[in-house]
């Protein structure tokens, strides 16, 4: 059998592979290593490649110095905004798939969603700020949960629309003949069928929300309400060389997301296949 590429048999192949891995992973290794060095070791004129004096001091400082709050805020806002987006997104996507609204509204709505997905969020910042200020939602985590819908809701509607569209109609028709109400059909038939799709959507929405920076920066004032990205930025700005602590917070911000890596790999591989197979 002819294989397409023969580079694999070349002795350069493993070398190239290792080179790529080093370029990709070294900065991540550096985060971990830096977080385990003493403050003094981190500002040596010649950086050490591994901690000569291993310490957990940075983690201790960071965890008892308020970053636990930041972590909790991030977790809360991410979870709440994802749940809200999933609920709204699931229902609206189902309506868009199963019902033809008048005046080509389905298409208009979907185009609008894509435009919002592409929009630089800063464009919406001023009017949203004024609106949220009037409603006393500035400096309020629930306000962030709402504002995150700008990112997560279009995402969820778009992904769930795709999953629901691939669902065959027969199950719902059979249930309707058996006398199930519309709400029962959605809850007992449709939802279980697209469960894996919902989980996939949730994970991507979590990643988006976890990463959010702009609106968090504009809408949150008090340090105790800051999310992790804000804490990281304030470290970059104010304490230029407290790298150990900066990297310790970064590790906190990495761990909850990195657990999804296998999943993201699988999801993306199937999402971007050409469909020729």
């Amino acid at each position: 059998m002819a294989t397409y590429v023969t580079t694999k048999h070349s002795p350069l192949f493993p070398i190239f592979m290792i080179l790529i891995l080093v370029i990709t992973l070294f900065p991540i290794y550096w985060i971990v290593v830096t977080s385990l060095k003493t403050p003094l070791e981190n500002i040596l004129p010649v950086p050490t490649l591994y901690p000569h004096k291993f310490t957990l001091e940075n983690y201790h400082k960071v965890l008892f110095g308020g970053s636990l709050h930041n972590l909790w805020n991030s977790v809360f806002v991410t979870a709440a905004s994802t749940l809200l987006s999933l609920a709204l997104g699931f229902l609206s996507a189902y309506a868009l798939v199963r019902y033809r609204f008048p005046l080509k509204f389905n298409v208009v709505f979907l185009v609008w969603i894509i435009i919002v997905k592409m929009l630089p969020p800063v464009v919406l910042a001023v009017p949203l700020y004024e609106m949220f200020a009037k409603m006393k939602l500035i400096n309020n985590l629930w306000g962030l949960v709402l504002i995150f819908q700008v990112y997560t809701l279009p995402y969820c509607i778009w992904m769930l629309y795709g999953f629901l569209k691939s669902l065959p109609l027969e199950f719902e028709e059979a249930a309707e003949i058996d006398g199930a109400s519309r709400l029962q059909i959605v809850r007992l038939i449709v939802f279980p069928l697209v469960q894996t799709g919902v989980i996939a959507t949730a994970i991507f929405s979590i990643i988006v929300a976890w990463d959010e920076f702009l609106f968090s920066m504009l809408f949150i004032r008090s340090p105790e309400l800051q999310t992790l990205p804000l804490a990281i930025v304030s470290y970059i700005g104010e304490f230029e060389t407290l790298w150990g602590q900066l990297m310790a917070i970064s590790v906190l911000a990495i761990i909850p997301i990195i657990v999804f890596v296998r999943f993201v790999y699988r999801e993306m591989t199937s999402a971007y296949s050409l469909g020729l197979k």
Partner: protein, 294 residues
Amino acid sequence: MKSTGKTRGKALFYWSILLPALIVMLWLTLYPMITVFLTSFQNYNYISGRRSWIGLGNYRNILTDRVFLTSFWNTIVFCFSTTFLEVFLGTVLALVFYGNFRGKSVFTILLILPMMLSTMVVSAIWKTLFHYDIGLLNTILSSLGLARVGWLIDPHLALWSIVLVDVWQWTPFAFIVMQAGLSSIPQEVFEASVVDGASYRQRLFRITLPILRDQILILCLLRTIDTFKIFAKVFALTGGGPGNATETTSLFVYREAFQYFNLGRSSAASMITLSAVVLMSVFYLRKMLNPKEA
């Protein structure tokens, strides 16, 4: 009689489950967008609260403003160079690592780690690596006997350093997309061409890349759209500096609104950015809504 009642019940049901999302979308995106559009024709200062209609004044003002033009140019340069580099490198990697070899899935999973990290984590780590005096990159350069480089403080270089960071983070995405496309091409296609005596180069340029054309196009669009928004990375790494060397349109809009309180100018800049995005994505929109794609 009964059937009209049923269709009305159906309509009512679907409208009512659509409504919550519709309201949120109208409230959080359409209404602000209309406000921005209207404000872009006004002279509106947030501090004094005074507003007056000035027609196209803001647009004229912005389009002759050197800072805005620089920021727009920077955004374009950043957007296209990162997209090109990421798609090119991703495609090369996908071609090199095509087919099965030992440890492939572990290798690929390790490779996509950078794109899982938050933007701020990525910015933080590169900020330390780029540090002029004690950063690792300059240490390596000086130990090789080369001059230290002002990665983030040299106006000619700073934008390219940010390009480097984005390429590091997002090439894995391009790699996965291209790998998925490549591995879904049936083997028979290649076998046939081998039987016909095609060389590797011929196969690459006459068969593989043409089949993947749409995939590459979609990938380019996804990356263009994403990089055009660039804000957080620049904000954390350089803050737009040195001077205006890394100012981007998003940063410009942010500054005009939240530092100088010129909401009219900020809105006009927003509208210009918005039209650029829509213009770039007309093709993308058509592709996404084409039922053949699904």
